[in-house]
């Protein structure tokens, strides 16, 4: 009787103790501050960060860096949630630039105008310009990123097939490949989310259109072309996004597809394929166009370690770190004096990336970007996949989009 009583008491106390442990945060292991930062990176990228980028800073500032991976699509929600609860546990965010306006509108990030001096002259000015909102600098440049066209060198050896340099050539190649292999071997990102929007943006811009206008001449040309191209594309287009495309290229489901630069790590390093290479992109009626993605540095407004975060931002933009990022990860640098040496296997890819950046355009940083995305994807499904009439569909959605954008003003 006493035994069971003691056991129950012990259990209760033990569970209370465990509860205390689990609701407490992580104890700081060093005597200094802890800088918390978040980013959306792959495993090998985190490895480089943890082994090469963080330690010198930690030593210099006598602090500890706590790094958290938050996927790009979740970051806004989570930062917003923490901000509203006044429990900001992230100081610095390496933020995907796909949707920056909400961060400004919802007052989640620190106004960096007083700290402009942290951006050294060697940093490319064109990268800084899109980061100003209403005349105020809200973000620092982090790293630009761009999509390149990957191709299978066994197939595109130059004898049978040539890599397409224009839309017409792209269509022809897709047709020939489908005829030869009975199933399409080229894909665009057709998952009807951000990936699709990014690639449609490239097609529209390469035809001289504006994605927010939605039914201008360029957009009509782009959607018409995609509608023509779709029947010759791989059925995996529906599942092809920034992640699965790498797998499809690796297992020969696709021979030609555009994807982000991270593909080279997954395809060549992880999956150990030696027959994949890349080039910048093809040209549309108005020339070549790519979309500049990548990450920018944001400092949260209610961060408890603002000074330390600012120091880290400066550090990240410094020559030593940018050179490191080039040589370890093949990331294009933000400054002109950070030309590190890229390992040999990466050189072809790196050249393609740098060239693709030259044709780069930014997404418009408007509050209603998620609405634009929604309608672009609806249009893609209706026009490209289901074959509806281009003009009427675009006109309808342009109208709906305008209405929604007006609401969000």
């Amino acid at each position: 009787m006493h035994y069971t009583r003691r056991v129950t008491l012990g259990l209760l106390l033990g569970s209370l103790g465990l509860v205390r442990v689990s609701s407490g945060g992580m104890a700081s292991l060093s005597s200094g501050e802890t800088l918390s930062l978040s980013a959306s990176l792959g495993e090998n990228e985190w490895k480089v960060m943890r082994e090469h980028v963080f330690p010198p800073f930690e030593a210099r500032e006598h602090c500890r860096i706590r790094a958290v991976n938050i996927e790009a699509g979740d970051t806004l929600k989570k930062i917003e949630v923490m901000h509203r609860a006044n429990r900001m546990s992230i100081d610095l965010v390496l933020l995907d630039n796909m949707n920056l306006a909400p961060y400004v509108e919802k007052r989640l990030v620190l106004d960096l105008t007083p700290y402009q001096a942290l951006i050294e002259p060697a940093v490319d000015a064109s990268l800084v310009q899109p980061l100003t909102f209403d005349g105020r600098l809200m973000f620092f440049p982090g790293r630009p990123n761009v999509q390149i066209t990957y191709y299978n060198t066994d197939v595109f050896s130059g004898t049978g097939y040539h890599i397409p340099e224009t839309w017409d050539e792209l269509l022809a190649v897709a047709q020939r490949l489908k005829a030869a292999y009975k199933v399409g071997k080229v894909a665009v990102h057709g998952t009807l989310d951000g990936s699709t929007t990014a690639q449609v943006f490239e097609f529209i811009t390469a035809a001289g259109g504006k994605i927010t206008t939605f039914n201008d001449a360029g957009s009509i040309k782009a959607f018409t072309f995609l509608q023509q191209l779709y029947p010759y594309l791989s059925p995996e287009t529906k599942k092809a996004n920034w992640n699965t495309t790498n797998t499809f290229l690796s297992n020969d489901t696709l021979f030609l597809a555009r994807n982000w630069s991270v593909g080279m790590q997954v395809i060549v390093q992880q999956n150990q394929k030696t027959n994949i290479q890349a080039y910048a992109t093809w040209a549309g009626p108005a020339g070549r166009a790519t979309m500049i993605g990548g990450d920018v540095i944001a400092i949260t407004k209610r961060s408890p370690h603002q000074e330390l975060a600012l120091k880290f931002a400066g550090y990240f933009m410094s020559r030593e770190v940018q050179t490191l990022l080039v040589s370890e990860l093949g990331w294009p640098p933000i400054r002109s004096d950070a030309l590190g040496s890229v390992p040999e296997w990466q050189q072809g890819f790196f050249q393609a990336i740098m060239e693709a950046l030259r044709y780069g355009h930014y997404r418009p940083a408007i509050m209603g970007w998620s609405a634009v995305e929604k309608y672009v994807n609806l249009a893609f499904k209706d026009i490209v996949m289901d074959g509806r009439d281009v003009q009427t569909t675009l006109d309808t959605y342009a109208r709906d989009l305008q209405e929604e954008l007006d609401w969000l003003k």
């Binding site: 929600k77 006044n86 509108e105 919802k106 199933v183 989310d193 059925p235 529906k238 998620s370 499904k381």
Partner: protein, 332 residues
């Protein structure tokens, strides 16, 4: 009061459970339902403005006395004004607009059809297979213990893991297509399982059945074991064919177990989430639960709430309809 005095212990014992359920299930559901009746456009805008106002107030409160607060106060005034005019806009207050929007959305209607198809097809398939296995396992034979363990294995596999594995199998260049190819049933063109329509429904049903079978088998075995031996002996003396006996004797006796199994399964099947999210993707094969999630990720919280409420309604409708039909038969 005497009631409380005699039964204070019992009430104490029941309290935590019901407090929890009321607080964390009932209340969130009611909140959800309330949210669903707020027009999405209004909800979004109100959300942005209200949090902006709260934020400006916070900033004003935390700015040191010496600094200039006029910019903040101007912003505050603007925001408050915007909020005021919003409250008087035609979209304020309760409205059915979210529901109207959903029920005219082609993608959502497809989601409803897909959800119903997957649930009903799945139930049918799981019933047949689970019953067959339960029948086999109710008689002794060599290797029965081993087979029973095998059948119960998927019970232990987490849903995310089973979804992962199923993607390897159902990929266009996945293992199922490979097996079909080697068996000569497929030519060079692989089957695209995730293209939407019946193929994708079949894929999700198969993947779900794989995972869920053990539980149903266990329930049916319980039902079979509950049939007294005397009934079996009596029916054997009878001399009628086995299939006839199965339908007229065994099945009716198992009715309560079948009902429970089907209802429990149906509830879970309607709510199926991780499997279709990973296996089929939300683009081609939307289901109501994945639709709810995608609206949540796009910050359309009111639309998401409406979608979730519709799903709840469908489930409750199904359960009560089934119970009504079953009860009617019993009373007849």
């Amino acid at each position: 009061m005497r009631f409380v005095k005699t039964y204070w212990l019992e009430m104490l014992m029941v309290l935590p459970l019901f407090a929890y359920i009321i607080g964390f299930t009932l209340l969130p559901i009611l909140t959800n339902i309330k949210e669903s009746f707020i027009d999405q456009r209004f909800g979004r805008r109100y959300d942005i403005l209200a949090s902006k106002r709260a934020d400006i107030r916070y900033d004003i409160a935390h700015t040191p006395e010496s600094e200039d607060k006029r910019a903040y106060e101007k912003e505050l005034a603007e925001t408050s004004l915007a909020l005021e005019s919003l409250q008087h806009s035609p979209y304020a207050g309760l409205s059915l607009s979210n529901y109207r929007k959903l029920l005219t959305d082609r993608s959502f209607l497809t989601a409803i059809v897909n959800t119903l198809a997957i649930t009903l097809l799945g139930l049918a398939l799981q019933f047949v297979v689970a019953m067959s296995i339960a029948l086999v396992l109710s008689r002794p034979f060599r290797g029965k213990g081993f087979f029973r363990t095998v059948v119960l294995t998927p019970l232990g596999i987490p849903t995310i893991v089973s979804a992962t594995i199923m993607t390897y199998i159902f990929d266009t260049s996945g293992y199922l297509n490979e097996v079909l190819y080697r068996l000569g049933l497929l030519g060079e063109v692989p089957i695209d399982w995730a293209q939407g329509g019946w193929l994708s429904i079949g894929m999700v049903v198969f993947a779900d059945t794989w995972k869920v079978l053990p539980l149903m088998v266990l329930l049916f075995i319980a039902g079979l074991e509950a049939i007294p031996q005397s009934v079996h002996e009596a029916s054997q003396i009878d001399g009628s064919p086995p299939l006839y006996k199965f339908f007229t004797v065994t099945l009716p006796l198992m009715k309560p177990y079948i009902t429970i199994a089907l209802i429990l399964r149906a509830i879970d099947a309607f709510r199926i989430f991780e499997l279709p999210l990973i296996l089929a993707g939300t683009a081609t094969t939307p289901l109501i639960s994945t639709f709810t999630y995608s609206e949540y990720t796009r910050q359309n919280y009111n639309l998401s709430a409406a979608s979730g409420t519709i799903l709840t309604g469908i489930i409750l409708l199904f359960v009560f309809t089934y119970l009504y039909i079953v009860e009617r038969d019993t009373n007849a």
